[in-house]
Amino acid sequence: MGDIATVTLTGLVVVFAVLILLTFIIWIYGKTINKAQSGSNNKKKAAGNETVNISKNVPNSSPTIIPSAVNTQQEDMDEIIAVIASAVASLGASNGKTYSIRKIRRVGTGRSIWGMAGIMENTRPF
């Protein structure tokens, strides 16, 4: 009976002690590294801001890309509308009714599309 108590007590205490020690060490070194890295990131950001300020003073000789980005977004939206319209048209063709699209509204999922993509990416291996 003494043997059972010794093994059980020693085992539980040692397992908890080792893992509690690891908890503290990992927590402390995580904090330390984060602090060190955020410090160096801040420095980099500061350096980056300086670069931006300098570049603002330089005359802008290259064409701006913003309009093309807007155009691309608009083209994407048009394509999505076309896909939805064709899906609705095929539904109409199958049941003999005619539909008109008055409004297209994005349905909220509670999580952004990027958030969902991140979760899918991180959980795929499991």
Partner: protein, 443 residues
């Protein structure tokens, strides 16, 4: 008439020398069990990577007269002592203390070149013998040496280390506590096994209890060190229960938690930097190996594999360890562990005890993790979902998937998987530490 008689005799002889003539009913029962396990592995996909080789190893080892697990046989041939002493001009005591086996064999070969014996020499007191092999062992006997000598489990851990992302654990180090709490099953089962009317010795009880660590390689490693005679039933029980985690755990998790607790959405984990991930295996190896040297082979190899992965400079080694090497070792480990489940040694009352205790170990381990999760839920004022505690039993990544699934049943928008991976990988370290403690105390 002579032809028919001869034919009849030949057939009778064939039957008499075949395995069919032997009344080894236990072997036939084991062949039946191996077929059921093969069915579970192939049709139900219960841990097929391990269950299939285990079941087939079991099948081969139970075929009478196949001799696939036979131990090599040696014969001791006495060495002519007088001739040896005369030729060497020494007393037998001087020969024993001063001459190597090669030198003795050279002297005897010079005396009798026509019958030289170049075998290892065994001394029984002052009488020397040649240790002559008369029969080589079966194939699985030699492959089994990797299990017996504790080589395969640490190599499997190397591969697991290469595949494991310790990021969730580093991001939330409190997960270590859940990994420790889930080892409760190991120690309560040890008590249970010891209280079963002297059926098991302390070393055997510890080997059975480690099933609760839900870690096949750890269970095999501990059993090979403490109670190799129970390797077959313990390995089969450990892997069977690991495959049954999705069935065993959910009822316990639901029983011990309220719907409100199961619905808790946990805060997103912070991003873990590359440097933290590289330092983690080094720090864990140093701390665990210093405190508990007996856990060093398992934890050390696990962390070496993880360093291969995180360092990013040994991509070839990383790929080899987690693919080719791990697959080869899995084959060897599976078939040889299965081959230890021989009918004569497996079909005993003890085996039923091991299977019952193994289930109890899994259940108590799950309960321990969930209850500690509840404690953390209270301590953090509802920020921790207790369901992640059950993943602390190891069984990577199955137990974490179960936490995710049960959590989503209570709150479909909840994603607990990455939170559960923290306790899950902590459970691997926890069970390796528990194994080290048991080996250190009882080994």
């Amino acid at each position: 008439m002579g032809i028919f008689e001869g034919f009849g005799q030949a057939i009778t002889e064939l039957i008499n020398t075949s395995g069919l003539s032997l009344d080894y009913w236990q072997n036939y029962v084991m062949i039946g069990i191996s077929c059921i396990l093969l069915y579970l592995a192939i049709a139900k996909k219960f841990e097929p990577l391990l269950l299939l080789p285990i079941a087939f190893g079991m099948l081969l080892a139970n075929l009478p007269l196949a001799g696939i697990m036979d131990v090599p046989k040696n014969e001791l041939i006495p060495i002519p002592v007088d001739e040896l002493c005369n030729a060497a001009n020494m007393s037998i005591e001087e020969i024993k203390n001063n001459l190597s086996a090669t030198q003795i064999n050279d002297i005897l070969a010079a005396l009798h070149p026509e019958e030289s014996h170049n075998y290892p020499i065994v001394w029984q007191g002052l009488v020397p013998y040649w240790n002559q092999p008369v029969q080589t062992g079966g194939l699985f006997y030699y492959l089994y040496q990797g299990v017996k000598l504790g080589i395969y489990p640490p190599l499997i851990f190397l591969g697991i280390g290469c595949m494991t992302d310790f990021g969730p654990l580093i991001a939330n180090p409190k997960s270590f506590l859940l990994g420790a709490a889930a080892q409760l099953g190991i120690f309560t089962t040890f008590i249970g096994a010891k209280l079963m009317g002297g059926m098991f010795t302390s070393a055997q009880a510890a080997s059975i209890a480690i099933i609760g660590g839900a870690d096949g390689p750890t269970a095999i490693y501990v059993t090979s060190k403490l109670a190799p005679e129970l390797l077959g039933p313990i390995a089969v029980a450990a892997y069977s229960y690991m495959a049954l985690v999705p069935i065993i755990q959910p009822p316990i998790m639901k029983l011990l938690t309220t719907k409100k607790e199961r619905s808790v959405v946990m805060k997103q984990l912070r991003t873990v930097s590359k440097l933290e991930k590289i330092l983690f295996p080094i720090i864990v190896t140093i701390i665990v190996s210093l405190l508990l040297p007996s856990a060093a082979p398992l934890v050390g190899m696990l962390m070496l594999g993880n360093l291969f992965r995180e360092s990013g400079v040994v991509d070839r080694l990383n790929k080899t360890a987690q693919n080719e090497l791990m697959n080869i070792i899995t084959i060897f480990l599976g078939i040889t562990v299965g081959a230890t489940a021989n009918g004569q040694t497996f079909l005993k009352l003890q085996t039923l005890g091991i299977i019952a205790l193994g289930l109890a170990a899994f259940m108590v381990g799950t309960a321990g993790g969930v209850l500690f999760g509840k404690l953390m839920y209270v301590a953090t004022k509802g920020q921790v979902n207790p369901l992640i505690g059950s993943a602390g039993v190891s069984a990577v990544p199955m137990a974490a998937r179960v936490s995710q699934k049960v959590g989503q049943q209570a709150n479909p928008a909840n994603f607990l998987l990455m939170h559960a991976m923290g306790p899950n990988v902590a459970g691997v370290i926890g069970s390796a530490v528990a194994a080290g403690v048991l080996i250190a105390i009882l080994g």
